[in-house]
Amino acid sequence: MVRINIDGKELQVPAQSTILEAAKNNDIFIPTLCHHPKLTPFGGCRLCLVEVKGFLKPVTACTTTVGEGMEVVTSSPEIEELRRLVLELILSDHPNDCMVCEKTGSCALQELAYMYGVREAEYAGERRNYETRDGNPFIERDLEKCILCGRCVKACDEIQGVEAIDFGYRGFRAKICTSYEEDLDCEFCGQCVAVCPTGALTGKLWKLKGRPGTTKEIDTVCPYCGIGCNITAHVKKNEIVRITSAEDTWNEGWLCVKGRFGYQFVSSPDRLVRPLIRTAPKSGMPSLGRKGIKWGEVFREASWEEALDLIASRIREIKETHGADALAGLSSARCTNEENYVFQKFMRAAVGTNNVDHCARL
């Protein structure tokens, strides 16, 4: 631990922490755009500039580690003027379409622009414009909204180990690129989307479905692999319109392509919506994806009452004629603990057999 002084507050902070971390942990606000707590520092946006006694120039709080007896000022007229100018410059090269931007409401840039009351850019000038759009099916890349903070590049490298993207070109032409600017072809984990502070990276499925603040958010668990990542479902009009994961979950907000973008099955038109009872004899062979089978000719829709009664009576028959062990049940690794508990209890206590298993082995 070292002793430092931020804005007159005497603080004890871990020796290796940066000024920014020290400030954050003590609820002292320093604006940032390129910094992300889970990624290595970058120091590009210059918003976290602070004055440190003994230094000739302001330094970036995100890259400077504390030292014993360090005296830091996080806000002064000079510093605020610099931050304001930086924001003006960023906005001078940023599209003005917050009204239709998926990020509105959760956009770090928008929030800071609001805080500093920066509106039309004093330094209006040429803006990047990129006609070509990335054709990948998952991630919308609107590079005109990119502020070159490099978070996506780091997430792709440090977290996912894929390095599908990197900085390309330089100066005003600098741009986040895939190799030879081909369409993104990666693991589509969307960590880049998760860390993007602006609307540059969003989900293609999200488009105009509903922005944070206008949706109901429910914390639950990913329906896919056995890792059980914590996710938040964003719901609008009884439809899941977005899946996100909070930074403070045990999975640190990281997900995979299935967890982040694989939620459409819930609202699929192919979902079963009514009990079905077979009318035609069994063909013996399933269609295995062959199209054009009319289920109406094989099954008829039935009421729950009828379906459940039928099942109960058939089970009773078979049990009476062949014994309980002529029945068997397969439960599901995709159902909840409670349902699995009930299922085996059902087979054992209600049906009377231990012929119960699930697909753990498959």
Binding site: D157, V162, E163, A164, I165, D166, F167, G168, Y169, R170, C177, T178, S179, Y180, E181
Partner: protein
């Protein structure tokens, strides 16, 4: 092309090097950095292709498109600037009818390159034509040379 790339890779693996060196060798032997070269190195070395592209687009030395048969290098150093380098470049672009943003003629004959400083400031304005230095020169002089090159059948 493949065996050239393999040779480069061989050298790289022997003396050890880095992305820049690899790209410099590639450009040296191929004249530019083809897409497939990057793919090849990326697969062989397990270095992400995006990093090669990032480096290749950062340094002005690297070209992603083939370079023209004849190379004209105009110095834009300060000394040359104060002695009218802009005028020369303008004149050459006009003569070569270079499309905006392009530095090589559509027929792949000429590439006009602008460099920060050739370090012969005392001879400003300076232009290099196929490696030959032309000091205290002017647009007209160079244009004449270009016309001459156009006339005589290329021996290279």
């Amino acid at each position: 092309m493949i065996e050239e790339l393999e040779n480069i890779l061989e050298r790289y693996r022997k003396k050890g090097g880095n992305i820049i060196a690899l790209l410099q060798d590639t450009q040296e032997s191929l004249g530019y950095i083809p897409r497939m070269a990057v793919r090849f190195f990326s697969e062989e070395l397990g270095i992400a292709a995006s990093r090669f592209y990032g480096v290749a687009t950062f340094y002005s030395q690297f070209r992603l498109k083939p370079v023209g048969r004849h190379k004209i290098t105009a110095c834009c150093g300060t000394a040359c600037h104060v002695r009218g380098a802009e005028k020369i470049i303008g004149g050459l672009r006009k003569e070569l009818a270079l499309p905006a943003g392009e530095d090589t003629t559509p027929d792949g004959e000429f590439t006009l390159e602008e460099v920060a400083c050739l370090g012969t400031c005392s001879f400003a304005p300076v232009v290099m034509v196929d490696g030959g230095v032309r000091g205290k020169t002017s647009a007209d002089v160079i244009v004449k040379e270009i016309k001459a090159i156009r006339k005589k059948p290329d021996e290279g």
